[in-house]
Symmetry: C2
Amino acid sequence: NQTFELDSNPHTRLNILTGEWVLVSPHRTKRPWQGKVEDITPDNRPEYDPKCYLCPGNGRADGDSNPEYTDSFVFNNDFAALLQDTPAGEMNEGDLLVANNQRGLCRVISFSPKHNLTLPEMSVEAITAVVNVWQNEFNSLAENDWIKYIQIFENKGEIMGCSNPHPHGQIWSQGDIPLEIAKETERQKTYYAIHRRSLLADYLKLEQKKNERIIFENDHFAVLVPFWAVWPYETMIISKRHVNSIKLFTAAEKKSLAEAIKILTTKYDNLFETSFPYSAGMHQAPVNNSYYPEWHWHMHFYPPLLRSASVKKFMVGYEMLANPQRDITPEFAANRLKEMSTIHYKTSKA
Amino acid sequence: NQTFELDSNPHTRLNILTGEWVLVSPHRTKRPWQGKVEDITPDNRPEYDPKCYLCPGNGRADGDSNPEYTDSFVFNNDFAALLQDTPAGEMNEGDLLVANNQRGLCRVISFSPKHNLTLPEMSVEAITAVVNVWQNEFNSLAENDWIKYIQIFENKGEIMGCSNPHPHGQIWSQGDIPLEIAKETERQKTYYAIHRRSLLADYLKLEQKKNERIIFENDHFAVLVPFWAVWPYETMIISKRHVNSIKLFTAAEKKSLAEAIKILTTKYDNLFETSFPYSAGMHQAPVNNSYYPEWHWHMHFYPPLLRSASVKKFMVGYEMLANPQRDITPEFAANRLKEMSTIHYKTSKA
Ligand SMILES: O=P(O)(O)O[C@H]1O[C@H](CO)[C@@H](O)[C@H](O)[C@H]1O
Ligand SMILES: O=P(O)(O)O[C@H]1O[C@H](CO)[C@@H](O)[C@H](O)[C@H]1O
């Protein structure tokens, strides 16, 4: 008589932040792969590219020229998905055709004047400068009282729809609360109402006790593969202090976050000895709405690669129509990332 | 003073089947694309490939050989994500680490003995044979009283994680009700409780009146771009009769569904003159659970291409972390598909 084991039997796990389940198929890694193999973008970019719209001094689509900036540089997205001057309006026919206008502001942040860098290759000081820009942008966008949520994120790598390899991130802020934030708000609120404690603080305490999915910790942050991770090497950075947004981070916390990002992204690059693609972004409390004491700042990393630099996980048929699914276990992924060096493979080969 | 227009202003639309919103940015199609361009798989496959595990007579991973079949052929997935003999078990630590075992059965269906065909290139008779297999498989899987949901789907094209170009689909059936089905059950149930009518029947009636998103209809099915479509050319096939699963389709309905699939996938191929990739699948009532009079059978098509055979829509940073987003409007997509010929571009060029 077999007993049920998380590391060998198919099972579902609950995402406590969204209330949704992921299907885990640990035995399925033996499946041979004859499908799509991704191109690996050659990594021989120049420090300055005259055709890049993010390099210092170059022209942009709106006719402006970038300044000769030396650390990071922020501007309004020239092809923004959300616009500030959207007229008010709504539509509802029989609760069957329902639409609302949506105002927003979209910003682009160049992380470095150097076209050929990525976050793991930047110094902690330079990443700290980026964290400062995120905090400043968050604070100034939140001054618009019609803005209710500010999404800070980065798409890294062509495979993640990034159309320019110059290191950069984006901020989309808007008048409504987007889907994922609404889910996480509800779950955190419910837990807080019952326990008067942060859901993620309690979760982190349990993960520290178990020590099965934590990759590393520093003074102010813990980095782990969440129990309910969907993407093969999905991770989460959780702040040790229960704060609900980046606005409240101290100088020490900002430096500590920069350190955590540098170590995590270096481990990612070392995993398959490639510039590791991902979409990453912070989740934090909505703004200009209510107080949100339940909200606990965290940052998600969703990387698509599964087996190598060129074989990714496809979230397709079953996943789109029915339920997210993963093959390797979160514990396996955490162990792999834990054993990766914190020294970037390019440096150690140089 | 501007007025709000769905075809030019950013807005959100409600998906009445899930209760979730999509962000629509109609003005954003002007964005130039410098990002990833997909390889187009050359389309010169032989009718028989000795290395394909789906071709008649060939060997498979489990050691079996395929019969010399002449229409379609079904077998258990050799690398199934779900297994029948999963032991019972569960885990719950403080509502923070929560997991349950999951039993299931996964089947693979070869649509044709010919390695080089796809659904739009098959005859209506041959597609009808596939629909018959879907119905038979549904009925026989439902005889297992522990199976609660049966997901019938197809991943088409390398870009959709399809690892073998031989025309085929899959069925994953399982002991729990997956996420998307749970959402659609709840919404349909709520509507039915209030109106005593099918949500999708009322929606279809309104779409027929408006005639802005319907691509075509035949005797038993309507094909449209849903008002809340997320993927650029996402479509839905809705049965005109309110039935809750494929089990109840008559011979006339099965032939009509085959016709609808042939026309829709032919229009898809003609759009960018390429073998159009997608994930598609049926949504229908759970089985062996309760009666589900609210459920209305439909089939979703989620195709990734946006601008051409090689430029797709990326559901990445903002979409993964915050909210699904689209650029072209559903009405634009419906018009494009409406004007496409029902004769396959390969035939008309031959
Ligand atoms: O089962 P296949 O065709 O090997 O695999 C494909 O479809 C599955 C179901 O949607 C996905 O989980 C896989 O990521 C995808 O590559
Ligand atoms: O804004 P970008 O970098 O041009 O575009 C990229 O990120 C956006 C936000 O996640 C997505 O909507 C696009 O599909 C993606 O290509």
